[in-house]
């Protein structure tokens, strides 16, 4: 992985390499270089399999992290490319022309995180949700509990417990 990183670093400006395992590493790529890095890895380095494309909400830092995980099935190694986007203007270039299946991931990210991928096929169509009007539900600032309490009633007579307190009471009944 170090060798591959050294090679890539000569061609593109990259962040620091995080070697998670011998055959898995993560590296941060700038938004404008992502496409070139993806094409280079796919066409010249054997990373032809797009394993997943997903997002992580770092709300405290005001950023979304997009993770493009690619796999080289012949060599049995994986590389995760991280792209940091501002939460305010969350949009990214589509890659459905490189991997057609990316369109599905992008459609889901649009719905669940509100990250736009202009020109991705069907990106604005509903994927899992129907008639959703709230903020995208996988964002950290979406309060699932509040939403559930507002939209779904409690069954009468049902006792609810805070799981953490309940476990503490069960494990340490004398309050130790």
């Amino acid at each position: 992985m170090q060798k591959l990183y050294a090679k890539l670093n000569k061609l593109f400006p990259l962040g620091e390499l995080t070697c998670q395992r011998e055959n898995l590493a993560f590296v941060t790529v700038s938004r404008e270089h992502l496409r070139s890095v993806l094409l280079h890895l796919r066409d010249l380095e054997g990373f032809r399999h797009l394993v997943l494309l997903t997002a992580v909400d770092w709300i405290e830092e005001g950023a979304f992290q997009l993770t493009y995980l690619l796999s080289d099935r012949t060599e049995g190694r994986d590389i995760g490319l991280r792209v940091m986007l501002s939460r305010e203007d969350a949009a990214m270039e589509t890659i459905h022309d490189i991997w057609p299946t990316a369109a599905t991931y992008q459609r889901e990210l649009r719905e669940m995180f509100g990250i736009d991928f202009p020109d991705s096929p069907g990106v604005n169509e509903e994927f899992v949700l129907e008639g959703w009007v709230d903020i995208p539900p996988n964002r950290r600032d979406f309060d699932t509990k509040k939403f559930a309490e507002e939209n779904f009633g409690q069954r009468p007579g049902r006792e609810t417990r805070d799981p953490a307190n309940h476990m503490k009471e069960q494990l340490y009944p004398d309050g130790a």
């Binding site: 995080t18 998670q20 395992r21 055959n23 898995l24 993560f26 032809r48 399999h49 797009l50 394993v51 997943l52 997903t54 997002a55 992580v56 909400d57 770092w58 993770t67 995980l69 099935r73 049995g76 994986d78 995760g80 991997w99 057609p100 299946t101 369109a103 599905t104 509903e126 994927f127 899992v128 949700l129 129907e130 539900p137 996988n138 950290r140 979406f142 699932t144 509990k145 799981p163 953490a164 476990m167 503490k168 494990l171």
Partner: protein
Amino acid sequence: MSYHFQPDRSQYPQKKADGTLDIDLASGKYLKLWQGPQHPGITGNMSVELTVCGDEVVEGKTHVGYLHRGFEKLMERRTFIQCFPIVCRVCVPEPDFNEYCYAAAVEELAGIESPERANWIRTLILEMGRINSYLMYLGGQAGSFGMGVIGQWTTYARDLMLDRFEELTGARIYHMFILPGGVRDGLPEGFEKRMEETLLEIESTLGDVYDVMFCNAVFKKRAVGVGFIDPELIDPYGVTGPNARAAGVASDVRKDQPYLVYPELDFEPVIGQDSDIYARADVRRRDTLVSIDLVRQMLAKMPRTGPLMAKIPNVLHWKIPRGETYIRGECSRGEYGYYLVTDGSGYPRRVNVRGPSYTHAVALLERLIVNLDIADVAGLMVSLHTYPPEIER
């Protein structure tokens, strides 16, 4: 022999200048037909919106969301151990991969190593689950072509394996057995003998299934040459597992990136050539036999003494340093993986489940469905072996 799909079979619909299909529903030439969510030929809680011209499908669109339970979001508000009992619910017929991938990801980020004996039992559980999943598939595949009796036979055989799961884990469907750090228990007394009886019965059922389903002229006539996946689509469409192996691509995580105790087991991935519905069904039938052999190898080799759990921190105060990882396994449908991100707190920052159906049931299905007859749609869908909960998590 190889079968090639003729893309110009249909004259309709013509394409507009921008490349989109020119479908004028008002012309009376086309009809919208919903297959699912309530339909015997649908694979679980999803539906396909078909546009048909006569008997031929000109466009298909996958719709999911009927079983969205928000697992990924739920896990962000649960401690690491609280996530353990809910991950298995992502996939009903083969839940153990969720448990294994989640546990392995947590262990890796927390710097814990599960004991060797636990790894053997984990592998045993995963192979038992694979046999179950394949048996369910064979029944569904036969049923989609009108052979209902095969499903009754395989359900009987699967039920015997569920008995083995019950005595090993205490549960038949959601086992909640592989937890971060190891497994909950060892093998019960006399398990090997009862498992051997079960395996013999399953082998006998598979022999009957071969005679009645795979040698059946009607099944061959309807499954051979239909639903062809071009090997060139494997990488662009993220095709994995038996769907890729039936196209002649030797893609098997158990061999490509061996995990647990697979390096100590003797097996070869099952490969097909024709890449049609029949080839995929045959790959899965033969793969079931490989799994049966693997279970026997494991029961003969696995250590009977030793710890089952590594030492893990107090689960109420378990914090994991900032990091990210991806753990994958080869489930009966292809590559199953968990992408876990931690931020140093007591909760996961992000859990992303990568199920093989995500690519198979949406982009790939929408491509393969074009120019198929309506009657073959169910057969194609089942042959991709998709489980919708993996798509919507």
